[in-house]
């Protein structure tokens, strides 16, 4: 941020805590955090922080990192005339019902959508002029994620042999997020097993949907072929990507899908759905396989072909090429350049 032309940046974070964030910030960037507040009080406390801060600091621009705070920015704009931009990620932006929220989004000076899919949904819902929206795809921490051998300690932990092909999904197992498609992979397992008999499916993530997932595994008789890793700390995430042979998340509700970038950064083939923002993350298939997330047969076929090395794709079987490509497309340098361009427009327009 410091390199973006000398502006002053103040960060207001809802879910982080000041002590955890402190070290990560460049000089000159101030932060206010509401992460110490418990539960529902946090949102109230956060709004209580941002509105006075905006009124006091009188910034040139407010960027709402999440659409939920557009309402607050909208009020500030009405009182003080401070322009605000909104970053639109995924599902929260696809179905805006509350009139207040619709007005707040419509009233923003610019919307930065993480994908074409999210952009198009907004244009369609709010009947916005298309030039109000720009694309700013997600980026990821490319330094912390590198290709590597299958980590021994994880092979031991899950009782997987180094020769065994592994399919990985990283997703929260929460009932509202069932659209992530892990169900479909479980359904596809029997036919994948026919062609790739030793294949193992590792599902990383915790949540209230776990009981249902377990029942599904039982009903399908897949107890020996699926492991539920539960919550995995950030520090082990890269190792988990490296444990797998293919990363799959045939989701129907991705605004973009940062996990795809992370898996690609570790040189892993990626399978994603073709109905949502995943298409952007995989550059319309240039970086991985896009499939119909409802078509279990196609999911099975694609995964089996990738694991058997039969899938026809320019990059998918070349780990280093995958990593290079994803860094070129979505690495931090690219992100910074895009953001600079957007902010430049702000200056140009005064």
């Amino acid at each position: 941020m410091a390199s973006l032309g000398g502006g002053r940046l103040r960060l207001l974070c809802k879910n982080d805590r000041a002590d955890s964030l402190g070290g990560a910030l460049p000089n000159g960037v101030g932060a206010v955090c509401a992460g110490d507040w418990p539960g529902v009080t946090r949102t109230v406390a956060f709004v209580g922080q941002i509105v006075p801060a905006a009124l006091r600091d009188r910034p040139d621009l407010i960027i709402c990192g999440h659409m939920n705070f557009a309402l607050a920015a909208h009020w500030v704009h009405r009182w003080r005339g401070i322009p605000y931009w909104i970053i639109a990620h995924g599902i929260e932006a696809w179905n805006l019902r509350r009139p207040g929220m619709r007005e707040a989004v419509r009233g923003s000076q610019r919307i930065l959508a993480v994908s074409r899919f999210t952009r198009d949904r907004l244009v369609e819902q709010l009947d916005l002029p298309p030039d109000r929206l720009s694309l700013l795809p997600n980026t990821f921490d490319e330094g912390g994620l590198t290709p590597g051998p299958k980590p021994e300690y994880l092979l031991r932990r899950y009782g997987i042999s180094a020769r065994q092909p592994v399919i990985l999904t990283v997703a929260r197992l929460s009932s509202p997020e069932r659209y992530k498609g892990y169900d479909k992979i479980i359904e596809a397992m029997p036919s994948i097993l026919e062609r790739v008999p030793q294949v193992h499916y590792l599902l990383v993530g915790k949540g209230d949907d776990r009981g249902r997932v377990e029942r599904r595994v039982r009903d399908m008789g897949l107890e020996d072929h699926v492991s539920l890793a539960g919550f995995v700390p950030e520090s082990e995430l890269c190792d988990h990507y490296n444990l797998c042979d293919v990363f799959a998340m045939p989701s129907k509700g991705e605004g973009f899908g940062i996990v795809f970038l992370e898996a690609l950064a570790c040189g892993k083939p990626v399978v994603a759905g073709n109905l949502d923002g995943s298409r952007d993350a995989l550059c319309d298939g240039e970086l991985g396989a896009l499939i119909d997330p409802d078509d279990v047969g196609q999911i099975a076929k694609t995964l089996a072909e990738i694991l058997l090395g039969e899938y026809r794709h320019a990059l998918i079987h070349r780990p280093q090429a995958l990593r290079d490509a994803v860094v070129a497309k979505y690495g931090y340098a690219r992100f910074e350049a895009q953001l600079r361009e957007h902010l430049g427009q702000l200056n140009a327009h005064g």
Binding site: E152, R157, P197, Q198, R218, E223, D224
Partner: protein, 606 residues
């Protein structure tokens, strides 16, 4: 009777490396066939077979395996005995097929050449075999109708490895030893690993009565035979005549051998039946083998001796004390192929027979399943009928069951609680009747070892017989396809083969089953084996009065006293009750087996 192993693969490859692996697997099967051994490798390295031979039929080198057809197209490795091979041989000869040996192996090979997969329906006996077709590059596997002979296999995208014992796959290097959830849970609930699951992830048992064809990494499989009963209207006398004919016919076939055939004599009705009908089946002067104990309430030695005397057999008896048993135990544990809470009895009696020079022995295994020798035949129909009659109270049963399973401090009541939660099905009651650990305990124990796997659900994995069968037929079916198949036959194979001894089971015979299956359950499955007694009037009255035994060991006594320390080592986790010897024993055997074979669970400490 033998040990077989092999690998088939999709692509051509170096012959040395595949031979080396198959050779390692063969060494793990040495004990099964001390008389001869052989290796085969296809010219393009796509297939390699190994065989260790125990010579019973055609002792000449013409019976050597792996055996190929003269044109080199088909090669077989075979473990087992085909009892109707003489008839099949004659048939082949009449059809102009040239046969070069007197062995049953060649008969299978030629039958497959002529009839393809349908050949399995022609075979009567116990078998597991693999046939490589070097032109089509495919491999055909089959296992006998009732599952007497085992066949394990593990498959990857480009190959398949198989063997008579799971340890040959493991220690031969074909598979890595990762504990599997389904096998583990099955073991903890039943005391043995229910097929087709195994204790190892990625390894399967080919189902009884199934064949499987492998071709370029793809498989297709079919069940060609299943247990079924087709009752016909008949009277008691006709039923007795039919049962007797069927028994004598089976026995006659089971005496086919080029070496002497002996009988394990337990003092029970089944083994006595074998001895009683031996003369009629054409056997002369058979040898009998039995075990005696110092504990009088367990000791069947004197009774077996009296039976042997009565029928004039050459009798061999060994007394096993707690100390002798203890001395053999280490050797027994090292012989265990997959964990089992049983098998020590067969181990001991096989050792005795082996040391007396026997090579083939008949066992009365299967009589209880066919003629209602177990308590389950009485208890199950009673309980299930009662549950059905009071089905209005089902929600109450479920609630009571859940409470009992969670709160009771007795394993018996916990099992009952497990059952009550499942409703009035035969399968559910049977499971609880035979169960070692109830569902919640087994799932808990299994998840401790495999914390990232999903434990099977309550009541899964046991087939529920069709409702139109009578309840007693349903019990018979359950006994034949679960306890007998997974526990008794598996242990019998592993423990007899440990001593290079061929165990034959005349009661476990598809032809016999098809015949006696025509007798309605109301006659065939009368309590106390009335049907068998009526069919074999030679059974002395003083044998009929005896309580049920059948090579039962005084384990309870030994574990309380001289063997106590054995259970201490595998201490159960909190919340698990060990109030019967076999609950503790199950954990001890599992621990020993995992350590001995380098099998690992999921390791959280990484």
């Amino acid at each position: 009777m033998c040990g077989i192993a092999g690998i088939v693969r999709v692509a051509e490859g170096p012959r040395d490396s595949i031979l080396e692996t198959v050779g390692r697997m063969r060494r793990c099967l040495q004990h099964r066939g001390p008389d001869d051994e052989g290796l085969f490798v296809a010219r393009d390295g796509r297939a390699a077979f190994a065989h260790t031979r125990l010579s019973i039929l055609d002792l000449s080198p013409a019976g050597h395996q792996p055996m190929s057809t003269a044109d080199g197209r088909y090669t077989i490795v075979f473990n087992g005995e085909i009892y109707n091979f003489m008839a099949l041989r004659r048939e082949l000869e009449t059809a102009g097929v040239p046969l070069t040996s007197r062995s049953d192996t060649e008969v299978i090979l030629r039958l497959y050449e002529r009839e393809g997969t349908a050949c399995v329906r022609r075979l009567r006996g116990m078998f597991a075999f693999a046939i490589w077709d070097d032109i089509e590059k495919r491999c055909f596997f089959a296992r006998d109708p009732l599952g007497i002979k085992p066949l394990y296999f593990c498959r990857s995208a480009d190959s398949l490895a198989f063997a008579s014992e799971i340890r040959a796959l493991l220690n031969g290097g074909a598979v890595e030893g990762q504990l599997g959830m389904v096998g583990l849970y099955g073991y903890l609930t039943t005391g043995t690993v229910p097929e087709p699951a195994t204790m190892l992830r990625g390894v399967q048992m080919l189902g009884a009565g199934h064949w499987l064809e492998w071709r370029e990494g793809r498989i297709r499989s079919e069940r060609y035979w299943g247990v079924s009963f087709a009752p016909e209207r008949m009277g008691r006398e006709e039923a007795a005549r039919l049962a007797r004919e069927a028994l004598v016919d089976s026995l006659r076939h089971h005496f086919v051998s080029d070496v002497p055939v002996g009988i394990f004599l337990s003092g029970g009705l089944d083994s006595t039946t074998l001895l009683a009908l031996a003369a009629e089946a054409g056997a002369r002067k058979v040898s009998t083998y039995s075990i005696a104990f110092e504990e009088p309430e367990w000791d069947e030695g004197p009774l077996a001796r009296r039976i042997a005397e009565h029928f004039g057999s050459r009798h061999h008896e060994v007394t096993i004390t707690a100390d002798i048993g203890r001395g053999w135990l280490e050797e027994f544990l090292d012989s265990v192929d997959q964990p089992t809470i049983d098998g020590f009895n067969t181990f001991c009696v096989s050792k005795v027979a082996h040391q007396s020079g026997a090579k083939v022995v008949l066992s009365g295994l299967g009589g209880d399943e066919l003629f209602a020798g177990y308590r389950s035949f009485v208890t199950l129909p009673r309980v299930v009928r009662w549950m059905r009659a009071t089905s209005l109270a089902a929600p109450l049963y479920r609630a009571a069951g859940a409470w009992l399973e969670g709160h009771s401090t007795s394993s018996k009541t916990r099992r009952m609680g497990d059952f009550l939660q499942q409703g009035a099905s035969c399968g559910a009651f049977y499971r609880s009747f035979r169960c070692v650990y109830a569902h919640a305990e087994a799932a808990g124990l299994a998840t401790r070892l495999l914390p990232y796997a999903v434990a099977p659900g309550r009541g899964s994995r046991t087939a529920n017989p069709a409702s139109d069968e009578t309840l007693r037929d349903a019990v018979s079916l359950l006994e034949l396809t679960t306890y007998m198949r997974n526990q008794l036959l598996r242990d019998s194979d592993v423990m007899s083969m440990r001593w290079g001894l061929e165990l034959r089971v005349p009661f476990v015979d598809s032809a016999l089953l098809e015949k006696v299956g025509r007798i309605p359950a109301s006659l065939r499955l009368r309590p106390g084996k009335r049907m068998l007694i009526e069919a074999v009037p030679e059974l002395p009255s003083w044998v009929l009065d005896q309580p049920k035994r059948g090579f039962t060991f005084p384990f309870e006594r030994w574990f309380e006293d001289r063997w106590r320390d054995l259970l201490r080592e595998a201490a159960p986790p909190p919340g698990v009750i060990v109030d019967t010897w076999y609950r503790g024993w199950a954990l001890a055997v599992l621990q020993h087996w995992m350590r001995r074979n380098g099998v690992v669970a999921q390791d959280d400490r990484g």
